[in-house]
Symmetry: C2
Subunit: 330 residues, 2 copies
């Protein structure tokens, strides 16, 4: 993989956060943001980022007109003597949820074939939908005073080769972080050397960023409490609280202690979330954990997500914390 990474490892990124599509959109309603969740997520993110520094006034950074309003809300006249808030370095990546999915599946963008008019049109339509979501998330975080910068992987020069990341220039992401901003990336439609085009998921983007930015920890915010041993709507579903990842990338559930401990790896088949996307998530999370980076999969907009975002779980996991920790274990 071609990379352009001037000294990124020294930058000390604290956390990469995935805002799961299911957590920040209404999955069953086309292009509808889950405003209540997103507002709480933004507030929790801000808290986590300024932890330890003096809590200062929120400086709203979305000075655009709100939908249906003709006025701009911008209360900056008293900012002259405001102290700069110190934010620790976070990167945000979000999924698509009910944005982009219709456009991509209708046209088959993920399967490639840009020479077909419907795929080309679907590529454009998918990017419009996901960049629209990106803008709304950037605005929501900016309203909470988080200095966010939307960055599409397509525009940043990410390319795939038969669906694998072939090149990903992270130098702009790194410069953005170093300048005190929070890059907000997203799952995107990309050009592919072999297929013409494809879709790169937010989970794969997270893994690549984690691999090269080496954050202290990674948090996946989702719409269920964590990873279960079967679809969480089933009555006997058990929340897997801790998964250990070995040097060879294999993983096993270490908490709770399950009966059939011999069939450890079978959980990779049994583990689900409501969207069926949990398997990819676990496998991507396991690859991140293998780098020595703790991964927390947790329900968005809860006290559990607040604890995960704060990083406190690295030292001590309270008994009442609900979520899944995926850790490297020698």
């Amino acid at each position: 993989m071609e990379l352009n990474l001037p000294e990124i490892r020294s930058r000390s990124i604290r956390c990469i956060v995935k805002l799961g599509g299911a957590a920040i959109t209404h999955k069953n309603e086309l292009e509808k943001i889950h405003d209540e969740n997103l507002e709480i997520v933004a507030c929790q993110l801000r808290q986590a980022m300024i932890e330890g520094s003096v809590t200062s006034k929120v400086i709203g950074m979305d000075w655009s007109k709100r939908s249906g309003s003709s006025e701009i809300s911008c209360d900056v006249d008293d900012l002259g003597d405001q102290e700069s808030t110190e934010f620790s370095k976070f990167v945000v990546v979000h999924g698509a949820g009910s944005f982009g999915h219709f456009q991509a599946s209708k046209s088959g963008v993920h399967k490639g074939g840009l020479e077909k008019p419907i795929v080309k049109a679907g590529f454009v339509a998918t990017r419009i939908s996901v960049t629209n979501l990106n803008l709304e998330i950037v605005r929501a975080l900016a309203r909470e005073g988080i200095p966010t910068i939307g960055m599409s992987p397509f525009s940043c020069g990410w390319l795939t080769s038969n669906r694998d990341v072939a090149s990903a220039d992270l130098s702009t992401v790194a410069k953005t972080i170093d300048s005190g901003f929070v890059p907000v990336l997203h799952g995107d439609a990309l050009l592919d050397n072999i297929l013409g085009c494809t879709i790169l998921s937010g989970d794969v983007i997270i893994r690549h960023l984690a691999d090269h930015l080496k954050p202290e920890y990674v948090v996946f915010l989702t719409d269920v409490l964590g990873v279960y041993d079967r679809p969480p709507i089933e009555p006997d579903a058990v929340l897997l609280k801790e998964i250990a990842v070995g040097e060879d990338g294999s993983w096993k559930v270490v908490n709770p202690v399950l009966e059939n401990t011999d069939k450890k790896v079978d959980y990779s088949v049994a583990a689900h979330d409501t969207t069926g996307g949990m398997e990819t998530k676990i496998s991507e999370a396991a690859m991140i954990a293998k780098l020595g980076i703790d991964v927390y999969i947790v329900k968005a907009a809860t006290t559990h997500s607040q604890r995960a975002l704060s990083g406190d779980l690295r030292d001590y996991v309270p008994e009442d914390w609900l979520g899944t920790i995926i850790r490297f274990s020698k």
Copy 2:
């Protein structure tokens, strides 16, 4: 200037088009798009791009919900056997108009100083506003069947050094064009090596793109007929129909033949548009013309802009064409 340009000169870009902020937004109304103009501009662009190829059905490429609607408009089920439309290679750059301006001037982003909370907030707010406009323009062109891809200079890795472009990776722009898409860039807030941050105007972006992509011609769509010898609202204002640019970059009006022909260069001071931005435009246009690329400055959404976009003016300029041509002259 650092550049990453694999063989771009062989790509045969037909035209770079500037959509002036004054032409596509209501300049005196905050964040308000000039929908009627934008629709005509999109239609004229499509006509110019498919000229010479068989006119096929418009395939709308914005399959997102329209504001106020809960339905997606996507009529793609009959696309299976649709022939691919051949588009000639265009690049679009737009200005900000009534987007971004309030945010930038309120905070002084153009003057730099990211360490100040108000500048940092203004940087975020400015980018939100201009990327919002970018999305709306991409959507308008996509509805007209133009396969547009929004690309922010910030995300593409453009950086300035004391307001001059210091690096601009055009490889992603080039790959996007080669894949049959139309990149849509825009004036943007950027990081600056010396100042911390600044604003890079669409006109400067056009010049850099022209310098490296070597299009056949460049069209500036604006809100007045062209360049005048004084503010066009003055009753005696004369439209300058042709300006010749010399090898040293100096320029003179060759049509109409003006009385005081000795004071040729003085027109650089006298020439204005309603926004006061015409001087930058002429000086950027003169630098493009010096490369041997014809530049047309013309009123958007008129028969004159249609003619300029088609490229026909390179061979013959009809007497009744109204606009300003800026050409290299040995």
